[in-house]
Every structure is written in C-alpha cells, then in structure tokens.
C-alpha cells in the first residue's frame, strides 16, 4: 500500500501541481513537498508527492551498481 511512483512535475499553482506519469497527467498535492519545482521528479503516493527524487543520488547509485557488478 506504500506504493509510490515517479511523476514529473509539469506545472504548479500553490500547493497543487500537474504531473506527468508516462503520458498520463494527474493533479498532485505538494503539501508534503513544498520544495518541488517544475521539472522535478517526485515520488507520487495516493495523490501526494512524498519525496523529490534526487537525480544526483540516482546517478551515484547507478555508478555504484556498475562498479560493484564489475568487482569480483
């Protein structure tokens, strides 16, 4: 039930935003993530953005994955 999926913030008006989830647009509340900006990906859970995805951390994790998958 704690499912959350990445959604791209397309526009915002106060605490309300419109987000794109693979071509589907939805109203999203930013009450829990007021720092979210247009162009950010957020984790969307039951209509609320619960976290702004950190692209730098995502890249770091991928780098780590590539590294450790090569280390014997």
């Amino acid at each position: 039930m704690c499912l959350a999926i990445p959604a791209l913030i397309k526009s915002r008006d106060g605490e309300q935003a419109v987000a794109d989830i693979e071509g589907v647009t939805r109203q999203v509340s930013l009450q829990l993530t007021p720092e979210a900006r247009v162009g950010d990906y957020v984790l969307l859970h039951t209509g609320y953005a619960i976290s702004v995805i950190d692209p730098a951390e995502a890249e770091e994790t991928l780098k780590l994955l590539r590294q450790i998958s090569e280390i014997r």
Binding site: M1, C2, A4, E35, H45, T46, G47
Partner: protein
C-alpha cells in the same frame, strides 16, 4: 519510465546475482518488512535466483493485513449508520470482519466508496454537505502524513462533515516487537522504502545497535532489491551491522521533515491493535485532542458485536514471519483471491495473495 527502467536492467541484475552467489558464505535469514517488497521479490523471481542458504521471510508490512478484526468491525459498524458515507482504499472493503465486510455492508445498502486518495474523500465531503464522510485511515508512515494533510485542509476549508477512523500504524515499533518476540532469527532486514522517504534512516538505528541486525533501506525495482541484499550480505560478512540506504534517490537520512511535522501536528503516538500480534503501545497514531472532532471512532456511537477470528486462518503468524502460506490448510483450498478468508489473501501485497499469484519453488 525514468528512475524505474534503469533499475530493471537484466544485465545489471544478472551480475548482482552472480556477485551475491560468490559472496554468500553461511546461511542467513533476511526479512523484507514491506508488502511492496514481498510482491517485487516474487514478481521478479528473486527468491529462486538467490543461493539456497539465503532464507527470505516476509514481515507484517501490509496495512490491510495488519488491521485487527475489531477495528474492521468498527469500520463496518460505521458504514451501517444512517447518513454516513464510508470512503476507503480498495482492498480494505473486501476483508472479512467478524460477521461481515465493508463490501457486504455495501450490498446491504450502506454507502461505501473506494477512493484512490484521501483527497477524493475530501471531495466527496465537499459535494455531500448533508452526509457524514468517514475515511478509513489505514496505512503506515507513508500514508499518515497525507491523512494529516487532509485534516488540516478540511479545517482550513471549514469542511465540517469529514471524519477519519484513525488506524495508522508505525513501522519501527512493530519491528522491535517482532524482534523481542524472538520467534524468528534474523541476520538482516530489508527496510521499507517509502515509509523511509518520510521517516528517514535514523529511526531504525536501534536494530543494529541493540540487536546486531543489518538494515538496508530498499527501493522496489529488482536491481534495487538485489543491491540491498548485496549490501546486507556485506554488513553480515564484516560483522558490522548498520543502517544503510540503497534507495538514495528516494530516501534521505533525515526523511521528509515537512511530512513529519504535518503528521506530528495532527496525531500523537499511541497504542495500536495489530492482527496476529495484539495491542502494541506506541505503535500507532491517534488524533491530538484539538483534532478529536475529526475522529470518527469518538464522534459516532458504535457498538460492534464480539470479535470473532476466522477459524483456521493463520494470517497472524504469517505476518510475524513465523509461518508461510504453505503452512496453512486453507491456502489455495477454501481461501483464494476470489473467496478470501483472511486479509493476507485479500490485499494485492498480502503474503498469501503473493504466494498464490507467483508461487514459491522454495516452499
């Protein structure tokens, strides 16, 4: 989808599995707490790909499943009150209570509506000022801040016909309870991802400190989970238990302070009744005194009958990781997703429903 597909890369997955096989030296028991992880592990066949000496146990991280029958009976009693519209997340309506279910109450004339978000429940309240709208507030720390936000929104808009039956539960306290019960011996815990987006990594620190058990917070894609298992094995091998985050794109050590602050402004920590475990102090959320007017459990006078558990259903011990669905005589016989006898078969992330759908060659 960005931030999803990269973590489904089969090549990366294959290399991680090879690495896990190389690095497994002794038998270990790992528990995934979250039902979402249980589903992901089964869906991607991860159990079958792991070495035989890694035992994977499923924990109590399914909010529908851990809702006690007594609380479900209260929800059903509320549904039977005249002028009440019940709003609920989908799975909840099919869970059998002592004598009925929300679905059955609906068939008998109650107004029970499935919503995707608590925002939909607020919308129903706005559109039906002459009715009382009760949201069945289940969920862990991921969901509780959204409910808190809805209550603050209702207060701001002066929506006076919106109520919540607060059944929220907290993860770290129940992890402690399960460890203290001592029924399962664990070497590592796959900590919930989106609960941790809210609470961060610090609340799990007692697990390595007091119990010497490795903890890694995981995302939900197959590569996320394999990375988590690899990190757990590394901690176990080095005998250096800690709390690490494998899901760094979605979880910060400090969590989401805004969400925590909203949650704390509306709710106090209090006891909660867990199916299969019982009443556990400080493991749930109750309305603060100044928000009690939103508490459906206090505002409406309901007297549900005595609680009865379904005979033979072992959902409780499955939620504690002590049994698997394969130990249950009802599983796949009289209990199926079409005719569920217990909540673990109802919820899409319930352990029984997951075993039913994806099978388990280890069983």
């Amino acid at each position: 989808m960005k931030f999803v597909n990269e973590y489904r890369d089969p090549e990366l997955g294959k290399k991680l599995i090879e690495r896990i096989h190389r690095h497994t030296t002794r038998p270990v028991s790992l528990m995934e707490f979250c039902g979402g992880h249980t589903v992901a592990i089964f869906k991607h066949g991860i159990r079958q790909l792991l070495p035989d000496n890694i035992e994977m146990l499923s924990g109590p991280g399914c909010p529908v499943c851990v809702t006690a029958s007594a609380d479900l009976d209260r929800a059903i009693a509320l549904a039977r009150l005249p002028g009440v519209i019940i709003t609920s997340f989908g799975d909840m309506v099919r869970v059998p209570g002592s004598d009925s279910s929300l679905q059955q109450a609906k068939a008998e004339g109650a107004d029970v509506r499935i919503v995707y978000s608590v925002l939909d429940a607020l919308g129903i309240a706005r559109d039906n000022p002459e009715k009382s709208i009760v949201f069945i507030g289940i969920g862990f720390e991921t969901t509780a801040p959204t409910i808190a936000a809805s209550v603050l929104q209702a207060e701001k808009e002066k929506i006076n016909n919106y109520y919540v039956l607060p059944l929220h539960k907290l993860c770290p306290p129940i992890m402690k309870t399960i460890l203290d019960l001592g029924e399962v011996r664990l070497n590592g815990i796959i900590c919930p991802g989106h609960v941790s987006s809210i609470i961060g990594s610090h609340p799990y620190q007692f697990i390595p400190d007091d119990y010497g058990i490795a903890c890694v917070i995981s995302g939900f894609e197959p590569v996320d989970i394999l990375l988590t298992i690899d990190m757990l094995l590394n901690q176990i091998k080095n005998e250096a238990p800690a709390v690490e985050i494998a899901y760094r794109r979605g979880v910060r050590p400090e969590g989401n302070k805004q969400a925590i602050s909203l949650m704390e402004s509306v709710f106090d920590v209090g006891e909660a009744d867990w199916r299969g475990i019982g009443v556990v102090p400080s493991s749930g959320l109750q309305f603060k005194v100044q928000y009690e007017r939103f508490d459906a459990g206090k505002i409406f006078h309901i007297k549900p009958g005595p609680t009865r558990e379904n005979k033979g259903c072992i959902c409780g011990s499955i939620l504690r990781g002590v049994s698997t669905p394969l130990n249950c005589p009802l599983f796949r016989n009289s209990c199926t997703p079409e005719q569920p006898l217990g909540p673990c078969m109802v919820s899409g992330e319930g352990t029984c429903a997951t075993y039913y759908q994806y099978g388990d060659s280890h069983g």
